[in-house]
Symmetry: C2
Subunit: 413 residues, 2 copies
């Protein structure tokens, strides 16, 4: 795949130049790109039509994810405009100090370099990633799924053309125009040119990337999120939070998959909670204690405790105490997002301290784990890794740092 | 290797507890551990004697690295005491803000969890890593080289015993008492329990770790460091810096391997510089231009430009201009440490901005890339990776963060 290598080499070259381009020029380009999306919506919709024609076999949910219309294109443009208003992290002096020998050390935020994004379905990922990488000074290489190739190509062409006309080096925005697995494999081998890979999609895609990459990967495999209802919980609040965490959008990674209830409030809390879930067509899989409290439930199997259903299914467990809840979450969870509902401050703090997840909540729904909801303005993904970036990732997470050291002839004794 | 797995499982368990232990307790333990090193120096020297007896075949330099005496043990104790005086990064609130819906989000520094260090030779690495991991709240698993196994075991036993007596959970400090390669391989597979691997040693060890690890690795392969002498350089300063960067300690990663000189000053700069290097027994390998200016030099081959000699050997190249110097460094360098000597501020800034290395210097020796010299008080390694930690790594680089979110019943609309 000599072509993929050439693309990556060009991206590396362009990344040096892009890293030095001012916020003003990047913002001007982003505004032009947003406008171009709207003006050239026709060419994008034409590409989308081809993909939809080929998507006959896909599920209605997947077809919906794939479908574009003028409104959706307008909201892609809005996202690019939102990125304009975000603070540019590049060049920020994180820290600065002077050593006894007079050396002045600056720790300065810089772009990571070249970021590859390997993703599935939704075409808005194409414009979001191009926008976030551009603003954070990273050259990007996009490899989308084959089901959206015509749409993604059209979006890429519109955005790149507007960017280049506005002073962005051509090598800064790249698209692998191939649906072959070899193209992805080739990309993942190019550690000399690519600094970071972000896979976005289902678990199989992410495992494929992780298993085959010679480049550092930031990812999340699964979101097995918990709500734990403590014995000091306001049970009405607990029901609102748990219902929201499961039902508001069950197919996403920050939705709850397991509900834990303290044994002292289980009798009072669970019957009404489960009735409400069943009214919303949620299938409940209970531990033996839960099945005693509410009759007629399906019994949870061991595999349920680590399952990411992404669907209207919920496992429910009664736990002995706070410690048991924490232990359950650290054992079966995926280090994504977990919440305690409690009126007891010490218990809340213990939960927040000891649950080893990216986002830990007291008295709120796990559904807030999201770049927009955190106030980052946008999101390039969520990380359940512990290194570099954890939780929602946006502009700052697309940067690294370097040390600039200013001397006047210092040598080491 | 069931035993390695059990060790790692225990470390994970202990890490949750260790992460909550106060700075006061950790500092008290570190002071006791420093004292124990001095009081029990005898048992450590006895272990060292065994290793030295087995080291007959090794080079004098390696034997020297391996050798302990009372002074060296005292300086290991001093390093632990220095760690006591360093600020504990755990619990630091990096950022905190309130969302329009009332959610209060805190970004808080937390230990990474379990850190494995795989290293060669020098026994002080054992005590430094135990001390740094303890202070940063990380459980550690040490796997040293076979040439130092008796020394490392003795150091580990002395330190662990003192730590445990002072309130540190036993699982927080671990030592793989095996010289078998399988033990290292087994460790590298335990991604469920170990969060980070730091290899320290020669390039072969690091490649072995990187190629076999299922756990994230932070590392540096090589230090191919450059000094570029600009046409606006103070040539006397340039000679002091270049001489120091090459000769003061040639066997370390932040020593210079290639000297670049602007063509306009090469005639004036190189003859005296090279004479001085030759007096210090440095072998010079020059580009064709360098070989014209100074007669009788060995000619550099292509492989020289990316060689990490770690020895009294230096490649020298005359470059057309600043851009050519930057391009050479980004192409052949290892993203470690590079320096420009110049009196021209714009050129200095351009170099610092465009050279894609962890540490970029203006008018100082590359030899300052070091945790102590940076003022971090200690060092667990240097990273030439771009993600998570870059450059010298100490306490802060052994932490990650989590988001603690405080609500009062918020659900997502």
């Amino acid at each position: 795949m000599e072509k993929v290598r050439e693309t990556a080499r060009g991206a590396k070259q362009a990344s040096y130049e892009l890293g030095l381009i001012s916020s003003k020029v990047k913002n001007k380009a982003l505004l032009a790109m947003a406008k171009a999306l709207e003006v050239k919506a026709g060419s994008i919709l034409a590409g989308n039509k081809k993909d939809l024609a080929a998507a006959k076999g896909l599920s209605p949910a997947l077809v919906d994810r794939l479908t574009l219309n003028k409104d959706r294109i307008r909201s892609m443009a809005l996202s690019l405009r939102a990125i304009v208003s975000l603070k540019d992290p590049v060049g920020q002096v994180i820290n600065s100090w002077i050593r006894p020998n007079g050396l002045r050390i600056q720790k300065v935020r810089v772009p990571i370099g070249v970021t590859a994004i390997i993703y599935e379905s939704r075409p808005n990922v194409t414009s979001d990633c191009i926008g976030l990488c551009l603003k954070s000074g990273n050259a990007c290489i996009l490899k989308g799924g084959k089901e959206a190739i015509n749409t993604n190509r059209a979006v890429y062409r519109v955005l790149k053309s507007a960017a280049v006309k506005n002073g962005i080096p051509a090598g800064a925005i790249n698209f692998i125009d191939s649906t072959r697995r070899e193209a992805a494999l080739s990309l993942l081998s190019l550690s000399d040119y690519i600094d970071l890979v972000i896979p976005r999609g289902w678990e199989g895609l992410i495992r494929f990337v992780q298993d085959n990459s010679r480049i550092p990967v930031i990812k999340h495999y699964k979101g097995v999120c918990h709500v734990y209802v403590d014995r000091f919980a306001d049970l009405k609040m607990a029901r609102e939070i748990a219902f929201n965490a499961k039902v508001q959008r069950p197919g996403v990674c920050n939705a709850m998959e397991t509900l834990l209830a303290h044994k002292d409030i289980a009798d009072k809390f669970l019957p009404e909670m489960i009735r409400r879930f069943r009214e919303a067509d949620v299938e409940i899989r209970g531990c033996s204690e839960t099945c005693k409290i509410v009759k007629g439930l399906k019994k949870a199997k061991e595999a349920d405790w680590s399952a990411e259903y992404l669907d209207l299914i919920l496992s429910v467990k009664v736990v002995e105490n706070l410690d048991a809840a924490i232990e359950h979450i650290n054992h079966y969870g995926s280090r994504h997002s977990d919440s305690i509902v409690t009126g007891n401050k010490a218990n809340a703090l213990k939960f927040l301290n000891m649950v080893d997840s990216a986002c830990v909540y007291a008295n709120a729904s796990t559904r807030f784990s999201d770049g927009y909801e955190f106030g980052f303005g946008a999101e390039i993904g969520i990380s359940t890794d512990k290194l570099h970036a954890r939780g929602p990732m946006a502009l700052e997470e697309l940067t690294t740092y370097k040390y600039k050291i200013f001397g006047n002839g210092q040598v080491r004794k």
